[in-house]
């Protein structure tokens, strides 16, 4: 067990190191969020409702996640490092879990910038809305890491990914938008939690089959 967690930690740390080597992920996220907000500003002229703004927030979050997930297995693909990991790990699901933690860290970093900025410029975010974001992020990274590994194993990684990912992400968006907008967010949050549990277990169990023949 602790050996398993050790593998997960080593793998996640490797991703953070790769990212911190470029040293500019967080500033890049900040810039990206601000640039997106500016695009929204020009797209959404004054009078639009708060609900539309929440919709935009969710589109932006999904797109950001997509961007991060598209990159997530690129280092593994470059010189066949994924093969190396498949040979070296005793339980391959550790590879998946490490990747989930790393992508979650990056998405979380982006959200730490994006959410206050959104609240400042567009519409307020209450507790349920934040809980919705947190739950949806877990689901996005759990499913996304599996699906992007499938895409990486196939040809043409980045873009096969959204094809696989978006249908799976639409329930998360519906749940997320619901938890920000609806007067009764509890149902939506419960739905998000259920989704996370089901798909995390499914992804965890399925990963082995994705990376081996």
């Amino acid at each position: 067990m602790s050996a398993y967690l050790g593998d997960v930690a080593a793998l996640a740390r490797k991703d953070l190191r790769l990212e911190l080597r470029a040293r500019d992920t967080l500033p890049a996220m900040v810039l990206f969020v601000v640039a997106t907000l500016v695009v929204f500003h020009f797209a959404l002229p004054g009078g639009a409702s708060d609900d539309a703004a929440y919709g935009l927030l969710w589109v932006a979050l999904v797109f950001t996640a997509l961007l991060g997930l598209g990159r997530s297995w690129v280092p593994e693909g470059e010189s066949g490092a994924l093969d190396g990991l498949v040979l070296a790990t005793s339980d391959r699901s550790a590879i998946w879990l490490g990747k989930v933690l790393a992508t979650l860290a990056f998405l979380g970093a982006a959200e730490i910038v994006a959410l206050p900025a959104f609240a400042l410029f567009f519409a307020p975010l209450d507790g349920p809305a934040l809980a919705g974001v947190a739950l949806a992020s877990v689901g996005i990274c759990a499913v996304g890491s599996l699906v992007s590994a499938m895409a990486a194993a196939a040809r043409g990684r980045e873009v096969l990914l959204p094809l696989l990912f978006l249908p799976l992400a639409i329930p998360l968006v519906v749940g997320g938008v619901g938890s920000s907008v609806s007067p009764e967010p509890a149902t939506y949050l419960a739905f998000l939690g259920l989704y996370d549990a089901v798909f995390a277990i499914l992804s965890w169990a399925a990963f082995e089959y994705v990376v081996t023949e």
């Binding site: 470029a22 500033p27 004054g46």
Partner: protein
């Protein structure tokens, strides 16, 4: 090659003196604004700083153009330094503008003035310049890619200007119209003094940063040569 450059020190001293003079003029020569009172004094800093930022971006683009034309390696550092200074002054524009906005409009920032958003876009553009630069392996390839991006910035300025005109609505005031500056002579004099001081300051900062960067580079090469 030394940072202790006598003419640069003299210029720095001159900038300080000019700065003192302009502060004196701002507070004792220029009249106090009827509506805004003391907070209008920010005008004398805010506007020259903004103009200086544009000037620095312009210099960055010009050096970039020279680099592409002549392959002169030194223009890379010069272009980078110009844009770096431009970003510093751009950030200062945002800060002074925000302070003024808080004083006269009651908010730190507003999306309703497209003029402000334009400047923000430009600022973002140049932040992305640094991102680009730091993520490309150093070498001739990086010099050229950075230069091309810097040139795009020069084209972006008038294009966005026009875009802003199109999207219209002006909260942000205009002073320099086709009929010349809309202010009294004493205000204009104070403005010019401050403008000169800040431009000179920018120049001194530009030269200092450049000298520092070059010394750094030389040092690293020397160390490399010593190691082997």
């Amino acid at each position: 090659m030394s940072i202790r450059n006598p003419s640069l020190s003299a210029l720095a001293a001159l900038a300080v003196v000019l700065g003192g003079v302009s502060v004196a003029m701002i507070f004792f020569v220029a009249p106090e604004d009827a509506d805004q009172g003391l907070s209008q004094k920010i005008f004398y800093v805010h506007v020259p700083i903004a103009l200086t930022a544009y000037l620095c971006f312009g210099i960055g683009a010009w050096k970039a153009f020279r680099l592409l034309l002549t392959r002169g390696e030194r223009y890379d550092l010069e272009s980078y330094t110009g844009i770096h200074q431009g970003t510093i002054f751009g950030a200062l524009t945002l800060v002074t503008g925000s302070i003024w906005a808080k004083a006269s409009w009651g908010v730190w920032w507003t999306w309703s003035s497209n003029q402000l958003v334009l400047f923000l876009v430009l600022f973002l553009f140049y932040c992305a310049y640094f991102m680009l630069r730091f993520s490309v392996e150093s070498g001739p390839r990086r010099e050229r890619i950075s230069a091309v991006y810097a040139l795009f910035g020069l084209a972006l300025i008038p294009v966005s200007f026009f875009a802003i005109r199109l999207a219209s609505d002006f909260i942000h005031p205009t002073v320099f119209t086709r009929e010349g500056p809309q202010m009294t002579d004493s205000m204009f004099a104070a403005f010019c003094a401050s403008w000169a001081a800040i431009t000179l300051l920018a120049y001194v900062m530009y030269r200092t940063e450049l000298a520092g960067k070059r010394t750094d580079l030389n040092l690293r090469e020397l160390r490399e040569a010593l190691v082997r």
